[in-house]
């Protein structure tokens, strides 16, 4: 009886030691996660319930849900900035990713100079947003802009105007700059996805008499669904958090027509010194992003299952 009890106790001790050592191994990662993710989120959430200019001692005055009320119901500028970001996001999800897919598909087919194109297409994403903004500002300028000069040379001077200053074209121009800068990411991820598809599947389909469109539609697209989902989520997150290009090209103008959420949040912090309100905008924005990403992933799962 004693030996059985001893055996159980020894096993229990070993189990405890093993569990303890397992926890010890994850402790550094857990500590980092708590320090750099959970605690800042808690602080932002906490701050969002206060009126605070970021300087006054004592962390400001308790505001209850006033900041959220203002953000959700009263601040039209904020929702207009979300609308602007949503438009750019839709354009990026469709045009930018379509372009990225077409180019990745072409390069995947082993065209001559594929390595060169890979490098060239990946150049815009690694350039600083400030540099890209400066270059495109010069292209879209109203007086000495490159685009207007080209239009003039082509006899289309009637089309020339100040692209960033006209409310009909300002947001679209900003979207063009953003998509130009961002399509390289999608290109690289989609290309990696395409190259991960076993070649035998294509060969077997060809032997069975499938044409190129059929191969693409029946083999490439279904196998690429997880990659499309990843690219879409990254596109949404990247585009909705657009900031640097806006500062360098339009400063949110003309008259707020190119303001985006990050621009609004940072302005509340640095110009208006409303830390509590900026925190509430950050929380609302974070939930919107999580919500949209979850929908995106669910849609991708459903399409894949079908």
């Amino acid at each position: 009886m004693n030996s059985i009890a001893n055996g159980i106790l020894t096993r229990l001790a070993r189990f405890r030691a093993s569990v303890l050592s397992n926890y010890l191994f994850i402790l550094p990662a857990l500590a980092m996660f708590l320090t750099f993710n959970v605690y800042p989120f808690y602080k932002v959430l906490n701050m969002s319930f206060f009126h605070w200019n970021g300087i006054d001692l004592g962390g400001g005055t308790f505001a209850g849900l006033a900041n959220y009320k203002e953000a959700l119901l009263e601040d039209h500028t904020w929702w207009y900035s979300i609308r602007n970001a949503a438009i750019i996001t839709v354009l990026a999800l469709t045009l930018q990713n379509f372009l990225a897919l077409v180019l990745a598909w072409i390069v995947d087919r082993g065209i001559k100079g594929g390595q060169f194109y890979r490098s060239v297409f990946f150049l815009p994403p690694i350039l600083s947003g400030v540099v890209v903004g400066l270059v495109w500002n010069w292209i879209f300028r109203g007086d000495a802009g490159l685009l207007n000069n080209v239009l003039d040379k082509l006899g289309m001077s009637g089309w020339a105007h100040a692209w960033f200053s006209d409310i009909r074209t300002a947001l679209l121009s900003l979207a063009v700059v953003h998509m130009w800068k961002g399509f390289g990411w999608g290109f690289m991820i989609l290309l990696a996805g395409l190259q991960g598809i076993p070649r035998e599947l294509y060969e077997a389909a060809r032997v069975d008499g499938a044409n190129e469109f059929g191969i693409f539609w029946k083999i490439t697209v279904p196998l690429m669904i997880p990659v499309f989902a990843l690219v879409s989520v990254l596109t949404i997150l990247g585009t909705m958090q657009l900031y640097d290009l806006v500062v360098v090209t339009t400063m949110g103008g003309p008259s707020g027509h190119t303001e985006v959420p990050m621009f609004t949040i940072i302005r509340e912090l640095t110009e208006n010194h409303r830390f509590g309100y900026a925190a509430s905008l950050g929380v609302v924005f974070g939930f919107i992003l999580v919500f949209v990403s979850l929908i995106q992933l669910q849609l991708a799962k459903r399409v894949k299952a079908e």
Partner: protein, 415 residues
């Protein structure tokens, strides 16, 4: 947190200075080295740019009690007041008044008042001086003399009235350049010109009455101010990109002689010299829109350094600032950066163009000297409104009404 000593607030023999002035950083560093050589006290100028990053750093420094010995505060008077009330800014009266006020009389009065709170102020800050001015700026209109002559305008007679300004702009436009450019994507620049016009039309007191909430923005005189921008729009001579230009691009457009007039600050002397040393230009006040009140210019205020009241090195920091603002060092900065110094007595060293900038500071205004300031959120709606007028989206009456709505709403929400 507020009770513990910050990282920078240890008792080391070093003065750390945070600033945002990219154009002056090298000259600052040279002076820092000179001071170290003379006194053995290490001086470190830390440049934090752009201004958004600087503002964030200073705010975080205040929140965590990690401010350096000397720093700048970029923000409206209410923000400066918050720093003072939180105990982050040293009151300088006793230092300025010591030795029969030897340090105090070194500065231009208006420049020193940039860091001054009067006995009665809406922020409840104890009366006193809380900042040391380094230089002063002024933001007038600037015109290209060569382009004026080419357009058939007298290069020695810049516009004095708004109608003359409109006519000059049209003529410049007809001669193949844009008549006027400015970085009006940046709110403060639009706002400063509009407040110059407002002072000219209704006088300073009435304008301050608006800030106090006693005169609405829908007042006919405010609408007259907004209509001035409508006139620019209708005349069609401004740079087509004016509402989406940041000031740096506007400076480039003017320096490269693509525009005949601009609204810009005295710091542009240094900028233009770097971009186009042969640029021939002159300075004039924002043209008169009204007839009753004088023309004003934003100015006689500029970069101000504050001393961290919680630093054990605060006395050393004050001593350094005394040395830093002495005529010899001020002259060095003047030569290197072409900014008008806050220290008096160097007028003979001004270049002719700097003298022109200095000469328009009569009747200068600046929010840091106003007893009451406008809420930055109202200023944002104000700037956007003028942008809307400039692109033909809204009328001056609509804009006035929107600004007033914003002011009333903000009064309810609070900050």
């Amino acid at each position: 947190m507020s009770g513990c000593k910050g990282r920078f607030n240890t008792g080391r023999n070093e003065i750390l200075i945070w600033h945002w002035m990219t154009d002056r950083h090298k000259a600052f560093e040279e002076l820092g080295k000179k001071y170290t050589a003379e006194t053995g006290i290490k001086v470190v100028f830390q440049l934090i740019a752009p201004v958004e990053a600087f503002t964030q750093n200073v705010s975080i420094g205040a929140q965590t009690n990690h401010l350096p010995e000397i720093y700048g505060i970029l923000g409206d008077t209410q923000i400066k007041a918050s720093f003072i009330k939180a105990g982050h800014v040293l009151k300088l009266d006793e230092y300025l008044d010591s030795d029969n006020g030897a340090w105090k009389i070194r500065f231009y009065k208006e420049a020193l008042e940039t860091g001054y709170f009067p006995p009665v102020n809406e922020f409840n800050v104890p009366q006193g001086y809380y900042g040391v001015p380094i230089d002063v700026m002024t933001i007038p209109m600037i015109y290209n003399k060569k382009l004026f002559a080419k357009a058939g305008l007298d290069p020695n007679k810049p516009p004095e009235t708004w109608d003359q300004f409109i006519e000059a702009g049209k003529k410049l436009n007809q001669s193949g350049v844009s008549g006027f450019v400015s970085g009006w994507a940046e709110n403060w620049l639009v706002y400063s010109m509009a407040t110059d016009l407002a002072c000219n039309v209704m006088g300073l007191e009435k304008m301050l009455g608006t800030f106090r909430g006693k005169v609405p923005y829908t007042d006919p005189q405010w609408i007259e101010v907004f209509s001035a921008f409508e006139k620019i729009k209708k005349a069609g001579f401004a740079d087509p990109s004016i509402v989406s230009l940041i000031n740096k691009y506007a400076e480039q457009a003017f320096a490269s002689e693509r525009s005949g007039m601009t609204f810009n600050g005295s710091w542009a002397v240094n900028v233009f010299e770097g971009m186009n040393p042969n640029l021939e230009y002159g300075v004039f006040k924002v043209p008169a829109l009204g007839k009753k009140f004088p023309r004003t210019v934003w100015g006689a205020a500029g970069s101000v350094f504050h001393v961290n009241a919680q630093s054990p090195n605060k006395d050393k920091a004050v001593e350094f600032l005394k040395w830093f603002t002495a005529p010899e060092q001020a002259k060095y900065l003047l030569d290197k950066t072409k900014n008008i110094p806050a220290t008096k007595g160097l007028e003979k060293s001004f270049s002719p163009i700097m003298n022109e900038f200095a000469s328009v500071t009569e009747n200068s205004i600046h929010p840091s000297r106003f007893p009451v300031t406008e809420d930055p959120r109202v200023i944002q709606v104000f700037g956007k409104g003028i942008q809307s007028i400039m692109i033909g989206e809204k009328s001056s009456v609509q804009v006035a009404s929107e600004i007033q709505d914003a002011k009333e709403k903000i009064k309810d929400i609070g900050r």
